[in-house]
Structures are given as C-alpha cells and as structure tokens.
Homo-oligomer: 305 residues x 2
Amino acid sequence: MSRIYERVALIGLGLIASSMAHAMRRAGVAGEITGFARSAETRDVAREIGLCDRVCDSAAETVSGADLVVLCVPVGAMGAVAAEIAPALKPGATLSDVGSVKRAVIDAVAPHLPEGVHFVPAHPLAGTEHSGPRSGFAELFDNRWCLIVPQEGSDRAAVARLEGFWQALGAHTDEMDADHHDLVLAVTSHAPHLIAYTMVGVADDLRRVTDSEVIKYSAAGFRDFTRIAASDPTMWRDVFLNNKEATLEILGRFTEELFALQRAIRIGDGDHLHAYFTRTRAIRRSIIEAGQDTDAPDFGRARQG
Amino acid sequence: MSRIYERVALIGLGLIASSMAHAMRRAGVAGEITGFARSAETRDVAREIGLCDRVCDSAAETVSGADLVVLCVPVGAMGAVAAEIAPALKPGATLSDVGSVKRAVIDAVAPHLPEGVHFVPAHPLAGTEHSGPRSGFAELFDNRWCLIVPQEGSDRAAVARLEGFWQALGAHTDEMDADHHDLVLAVTSHAPHLIAYTMVGVADDLRRVTDSEVIKYSAAGFRDFTRIAASDPTMWRDVFLNNKEATLEILGRFTEELFALQRAIRIGDGDHLHAYFTRTRAIRRSIIEAGQDTDAPDFGRARQG
C-alpha cells in the first residue's frame, strides 16, 4: 500500500496509539511516525521497543512538520494538549483524535485550532482491557468501526484522506454527528462499563465475607464483568465526566428497568421475567446477523488458548 | 478409565445433560446412559443424534435400574420430576442434580426421596449461551468447578463416588453448604446475569430511537452483555425465582453503589471514580492469579476465529 501521510504524530502512547503505530507499519501508510507521551517512563519504553521512528521530548516538537496529528490522550487532557501544540501545527495538516466522547473533545479542542488546520475528530471502536505502549498490536482495528465526526465546514478532501487512513489500518469507517455518537456510545459502551465496574466493586465488598470464594468460583458472567472493569481508570473517569448527560440518561433508564425486574422477582412474576429474557435473546441474534459477533459458544475459555 | 456407574439416567436433555453424555463417553465412566426430556421434539433430536444409549418416553422408565440419576431440568421443575421418578428409583441409587440454586432444589426434592436412595445435590459451574440437546460438547466441564452439596447424613461413599464421576468428566470438585452456595452464586452469576439482561433490554428500547446503530456499533462491553443475556429464559426465570433473597440482597447493594457512582458523575467527582476503577482493576488481577482466566487480551474477537 502507498503512503497516505508523509509524517504522522501520535500524542499519547497507550494502547490505541501503539496499535496505530503497528498498524501503520503493517500498511505502509506513513513515511515517518513521531510520538510523545507525558511520562518520561512511557517515552523510554516506546524508545526501547522502537514503537515510533522518533520519540520526542515535547508535544510541540512531535507535531512539527506532521501531516496528521492524532491526539491519543484521555478525553479530559485533549484541550490542554491542543493548546500546547496549536502554534506548532503545520498549515494544511489534519488534527484528529481517538477519544471515546466527541462533543466534549470538540468543545475543548476547537477553540485552539489555528487557521488552515483541518480538524477531523474520530473514534475507533476498539480496545482491550490492557494499556500502555507495550499493549498495542497491529490487528486491533481489523474489521472494527472507526466513526468519523466531520465538523461544519470540514474540508472534504481532508475527511476522505483520514477515512482512507483508517481503512488502511483495517477499520470500516462511517460518519456521524457528535451528539448522536455520544448517545450511541453511552448505550453500547459507557453505561455497560460503569455497570461492570459497579458489579465488580460489590463483589469485592463481599469477597471479604465469602473468603475469596467469589474469586475462586467466578462464573462466566462475572468474569466478563471483571475484564471490562479492568480497563484504564483515567480513561474511563474522563469518559464519564465528559459524557455526563447521555451516560446519566441511560443509567436512569437502566435503574428503572432493573427495579421493574427486581419487583418481578420479589412478587414472583415469572411471566414478566420470561418475556423479558426472551426479548433480550432476540437482540443477541440481531448482533450476530449484523456480523458484530459470531454464534460460536463462548464459555470463558476462548481466551485461555 | 473404568466405569463409575453401571447405568446413568439423565432427566432433561439440554446443554448440561448433553455435555454430560458426551463427557461420560469420552471418559468411559458409564455402562449405559438413558435419557428423557419432557418435549417429544427434544427426545426425537436426542435419538437422531444418538445422544444416549436409550431415550425413554417416561421419566420413570428412564431411571429404572439406574445407579445415578441426574436431574438436568430448570430449577422450578425439580420437585415435580422428583415426585414422578421417586417410586421408580433403585434402592442404593444416587440422585443428583445440576441446578444453579441449591436450597430451593433441596427443599423441593428431599420430601420425595425414598428410603435407601442417596441424595447428593451438585452444581457444575459451566455453561454457554446455547441450549438444547445439540448444544452439548464433551469439553464443557474441563477445568471448571463442580460444587457438591452433601446433605446432613449423606453417605460418604456415595458423595465420594459422585465427586470422582465429576472429576472424570473433567471438573474440579469442592463441597459447600447450600445457603453459602446460593450467596456466592448470587454474586458471581445470578446478579450479573440480571444486570446484563437489563442493560440489553434498555438498549433494545433505544434501538428504535437510534435506528439500529446500537446493534451496528455494539462495542466490546455491550457485546459481552448480549451474550450473557442470550441465555435460556426458562432456566434463568427459575434461578431468580428460587434464589430470590440472595439475588435481591446483592442487587440492593449493587444499586446503592451504582447510585454513588452516578452521583460522582453528576457532581464531577473524578477522584471518587478513579479510586473506584483502580480498586476493581485489582480484582481482575486476583482472578487471573487464581487461574480462573488468563491475561491474554480479549476484544470481542477471540470467539470469531
């Protein structure tokens, strides 16, 4: 494949940025990859494993001369990083990000944008429960969605180029409005994560009561929750603080429905429970039909291979 | 391996029973396997695929002469089945079950127990989201726990024999008190399942709003929830109705903690969120150290191989 950007700068060198570096090399789409992380330790690791062609000691130096700059820092840090790098951005460059929330990132980054720089926010729907520069791998984005959120007046050529870039990294791309993105992600990702965090926290309280048996006998449902709840604390803190309205709206609906089910259990209304569980089973089928998962049985062991 | 029981009768021919049949054959621990399911269609499928040596048309015929009888029906059906088969049980036989709840099953089954039959309840902690006689496979119990719940005055030889049987099927065994079992399972399995069902139900409501995007862009967290929420509706209805107190207790703690986290989001208390998420991350580590899962990254694709 041929180069799409002559120079790509990655700000933040965690799971997403390091996977992008590997995927860019696999696809041969970047001439040079520069990188920066706030922590000296992370920069040292990145140098040690040769993650980028050049790891710089300042964000400004990293973006200097770059055709594409991707902010891969927690959502809450995007504004400060944008302010820092703005003066060093090359005219005609594209500035993008990989944040899990889009409205708050746009509000934080847009005011710092210099004339002549194309701002094209994006969000690759991919991740694992691991973090840091060593956690990346080239296949992370394969067959995953990357949602592109063009701004009013976005340069179409810059948008199309970024979409081609993500496709070269293995992803499918789609365009979406920022507020709509934040609502869809609140349902599919943000609320489920908070719920998993909560359930694991409850189990931890009980672990003291049950003498580690919660860990020893952790069944499939709970094991899945612990994996979700092992995700990066800083990243997720920022997601919830920056997608507050949509997340709280979904959690409100969730507790309403949970109370209805709890009541059905309390009064012994088996028909209500059975009908509800039959309905949710159909949703699983829709996801399989949509090609987002397969029907192969998973019982907590697929990942033990 | 040598025979442990001359004749084993399976009542109910779903995922667990069909997996037991395959695992028994793999291990060579049963002389003859008989089976019964209430639905004629299920019996026909079982005959077609040769699941048992003999599929009978009545529960009583199935258990006649059996050394081990295993009730593999939903928890709510255990009492009625026990009443039906009791007169046909062979003196000296062991009666067991695979229910996810133990106190309610014991209360329902024990009154029907004839003199000279050893009742040894059990619960293999294994499953998938699939059900029916075609869903079983021999490896389902490999390296999983099977909890044995001996009754006061249980014959030790009968208990040891059943433990050896489950070990031959691939499982580790442990003994536990019924009430304690029900509490541990409420935390590790029952509450997480209800929560997953609820979140998927909420997403289904919103699906109509978001024009199928919830399905299309379902991210890892949500996909895991849909898999859990695709489990058998009848089985789970009975679990919740029969482990009511422990499940409601855990759900009560869960909603308390969820409200505290929702409040932290609403007032912007990032420190509270970060500390909570850091604590839950440590629990994941305990589970990995306990050998109940591995550290390999899973991002919703392991099962797509």
